[in-house]
């Protein structure tokens, strides 16, 4: 076959079909891992790695959408209690028995409109961080607060360092491609992309009293 003219290659189509392929392969890999013994430390690590590979790929796509101004959320009504239950089950599988994962829910509305996949990704990132810094306990919570839904992940580690709380870390991360700062940047982007009429979502980071743990909260209108 004659190679086509360089100008005729549709880079976008090529990229899209490759990403499609990677996702399919990744799914097969993840399902294969899930059929293996879940107590083995290697399998647990491999699962985490899969998650991280996927995470990076989704970030790449989000960056592209952000760049081309095509980021569009899929706001569908979900039951927050179910969402948190599912999420806790997934997080527990990821933690593989090394941490206690607790679920906490207060005054939850019957339904809330949010982009399930993106919010899950943002929370999952917080869980990845917590798995690194927590001593033994991670609490995943959901609460209705007036006209917002608050979804949170907190741990019993040493809390966020000051530059993170001041968002300096996120800015630095974008310049140097630093892992955790990048995750927070995306979480903030996802939260802020959630809007309802004139209200906008937010990412709230703070530490528990006496720096006894970090609290990551997504506030969704």
């Amino acid at each position: 076959m004659k190679p086509s003219e360089p100008g005729t290659i549709d880079l976008k189509v090529l990229l899209a079909s490759n990403i499609h392929e990677i996702k399919n392969l990744l799914l097969q890999l993840m399902l294969r891992l899930d059929t293996m013994d879940s107590a083995s430390a290697d399998v647990i690590d491999a699962r985490l790695l899969c998650r991280r590979v996927n995470d990076r790929m989704v970030r790449m796509l989000l960056l592209y959408e952000l760049q081309t101004d095509t980021l569009q959320l899929n706001l569908i009504a979900h039951n927050p209690a179910d969402f948190i239950d599912d999420f806790v089950r997934n997080a527990t599988a990821l933690a593989g028995g090394r941490f206690i994962i607790e679920r906490r829910a207060d005054a939850m509305p019957d339904y809330w409109f949010f982009d399930r996949e993106l919010v899950e990704m943002a929370l999952l990132n917080a869980v990845h961080n917590a798995l690194r810094y927590a001593r033994q306990r991670i609490v995943i919570g959901a609460a209705g607060a007036g006209n917002s839904l608050m979804l949170s992940v907190d741990d019993d580690g040493t809390g966020y360092p000051q530059p993170v709380l001041e968002q300096k870390q996120e800015i630095r991360a974008l310049k140097s491609n630093n892992g955790s700062g990048m995750g927070l940047f995306f979480a903030r982007m996802i939260a802020e992309a959630h809007t309802n009429k004139d209200r906008r979502g937010a990412l709230i980071l703070h530490n528990k009293e006496g720096d006894s743990g970090a609290v990551f909260t997504l506030q969704l209108p």
């Binding site: 993840m30 399902l31 706001l75 039951n79 599912d86």
Partner: protein, 544 residues
């Protein structure tokens, strides 16, 4: 946790490797009865063969078909029950846009990649919902909209996590029950909290129902502006323009919808139809050509598209191609009286256009023979064509009889009247059209009135006789059928139980239940039927 071991699953994915991965995963949580298909057609073949409880389908199936099309075709043709779980699997975040605006959404969807845990949890959730909604689905399937509405309200009064789904169903029921004011209020309340596209569409439908087409159009344009991929909004907008008599605008809107989603063949077909009515033969030919071509290997292809294509080709003067298309239809479909009739009518028309009078006459004789033999009474363009070709072949009496039959069967249908009028204009008989149409309508009204009058004057037997005969002559005419049913039931009420009459009444009601079950008069007579049955202590003999 659900017991999955009794469930039967079908996995649809074009990649065999993916199929086996998914099958292994399902096996691991107990679903051992698991089949796989690598293409849409194979999947449909399997679904026709046996019932599945769970269908896991990949969105991207390659080569011009996607999972959403399969889902819509399955749900629209009621090939799978509401209780069947349909789970879409997709690598495309874009699919979310599709699903948020789909007329038929899957029970849930999973973005690749996902864990075995996730698919298991999602399946459990879906079954939980199906269980809660089982009664509601049954009521809707039985056409009991009123009771379904009450069930929605009952479920909403309890704290329910599926409240949004219930509200959405409630809105659709209110529209089906022709209660625009209540529907409008419901949708406006949702929109006040959040501008959800389906609520806007529902509002537009309520406005249409309330006789406010301008407001409906404004709402629909807003929806399309904000969610340009919301195809159902285009369909509704096109229909609104069509009802307003703006066929040109309707065509433009459908063209836009086709551009957004060229995959949907039913919409292409609707576009072709309206382009044909607008005299835009080139676009009509292109649309029907696409439908015939792309649908060639689909289970859901329809011979009517071949017929429509051939009609357009004939009018473009391409007589040979038009005949070839009919031959194609005969080759591609099992022979049914409908197909045979439609093909013969077209052949007769094409031959006539090509001045081959003998062949035209032969084809026409065949068509009339099939019609007489099977007593088909058709509401579509083929019926109009048949009358036309009768006129053209000098069979005026038959032609007038056909027109009369059409008009009296569908005498409240503006579209059919205008199609008949157009046909008569076409063959230079405009002068006859008003008299022919008016006479047919008047005859029905006279007959109806006469029947009702006889009953009032105490001649119940005479009334039954007249109305039952009339209802046999024009089986699609709902008013005649309802009056006949009423006369039959009243006869039993007055003169004692008459099993045969009551069965006939039930049959007449059943014939119109699907399309007119929500009419007030229909429900009144259904209740009357039940009351009289109870009066004589006869158990329900619901005639299907």
């Amino acid at each position: 946790m659900n017991d999955f071991s009794k469930k039967r699953a079908l996995i649809i994915d074009d990649s065999p490797a993916m199929c086996s991965s998914l099958r292994m995963t399902l096996n691991n949580f107990g679903i051992t009865r698991c089949e796989t298909s690598n293409s849409a057609n194979e999947a449909i073949f399997r679904i026709r063969q046996r019932e599945f409880d769970i269908i896991v389908c990949d969105y991207c199936l390659g080569e011009g078909s996607d999972g959403q099309q399969i889902l819509e075709q399955l749900r629209r043709s009621a090939m799978i029950a509401q209780s069947v779980v349909f789970l879409m699997v997709t690598a495309e975040r874009d699919y979310e846009k599709v699903v948020s605006c789909a007329e038929f959404a899957p029970d849930d969807y999973l973005l690749k990649p996902f864990t075995a845990e996730t698919i298991c949890v999602r399946l459990e959730r879906i079954f939980e919902k199906k269980l809660q909604f089982a009664q509601l689905y049954q009521l809707i399937a039985d056409g009991k909209a009123e009771q379904a509405l009450a069930e929605c309200d009952r479920m909403l009064a309890l704290k329910n996590k599926f409240a949004m789904d219930l509200i959405r169903m409630k809105g659709e029921l209110l529209i089906a029950l022709n209660r625009p004011d209540a529907a409008k209020k419901l949708y406006e309340e949702i929109i006040a909290a959040r501008a959800i596209p389906w609520a806007r569409l529902g509002l537009a439908k309520s406005l249409n129902l309330a006789g406010e087409p301008e407001a409906a159009i404004e709402t629909l344009e807003l929806v399309i502006g904000e969610t340009p991929h919301y195809l159902e909004a285009y369909d509704t907008l096109a229909r609104t323009h069509e009802n307003q008599g703006n066929l040109q605008l309707a065509q433009e809107i459908l063209e836009k919808a086709v551009a957004v989603s060229p995959q949907s063949l039913s919409r292409q077909s609707a576009m072709g139809e309206i382009a044909y009515r607008n005299g835009d033969l080139a676009k009509a030919a292109k649309a029907f050509g696409t439908v015939v071509d792309k649908g060639k290997y689909s289970y859901f292809r329809n011979h009517k598209d071949f017929i429509s294509l051939s009609r357009v080709l004939m009018e473009e003067g391409k007589h040979d191609t038009a005949l070839c298309t009919i031959a194609d239809a005969r080759r591609n479909f099992d022979s049914t009286p409908e197909l045979d009739l439609a093909s013969s009518v077209m052949e007769s028309l094409i031959h006539h256009a090509g001045r081959e009078t003998v062949q035209s006459g032969q084809a026409l004789s065949r068509a009339l023979e099939i019609k007489a033999q099977h007593g088909l009474s058709l509401a579509d363009s083929i019926a109009v064509d048949l009358a036309k070709v009768c006129f053209l072949n000098g069979k005026e009496e038959e032609a007038r009889e056909l027109v009369k039959e059409m008009i009296s069967n569908f005498y409240e249908d503006e579209k059919i009247q205008s199609a008949v009028r157009g046909m008569l204009d076409d063959i230079g008989r405009s002068g006859e059209s008003q008299a022919l149409i008016d006479n047919s309508i008047n005859e029905v009204i006279k007959l109806n009135n006469e029947g009702v009058m006889r009953a009032k004057n105490g001649d119940l037997a005479g009334s039954v006789d007249l109305l039952v005969t009339a209802s046999k002559r024009m089986p699609q005419n709902v008013q005649v059928a309802l009056n006949a049913a009423q006369a039959l039931i009243v006869e039993s009420d007055r003169n004692g139980w008459n099993g045969e009459n009551m069965r006939l009444a039930a049959q007449l009601l059943a014939n119109h239940a699907e399309q007119h079950g929500n009419l007030e008069k229909f429900q009144k007579i259904s209740r009357l039927h039940k009351d009289i049955r109870l009066k004589y202590g006869i158990a329900g003999n619901e005639t299907k």
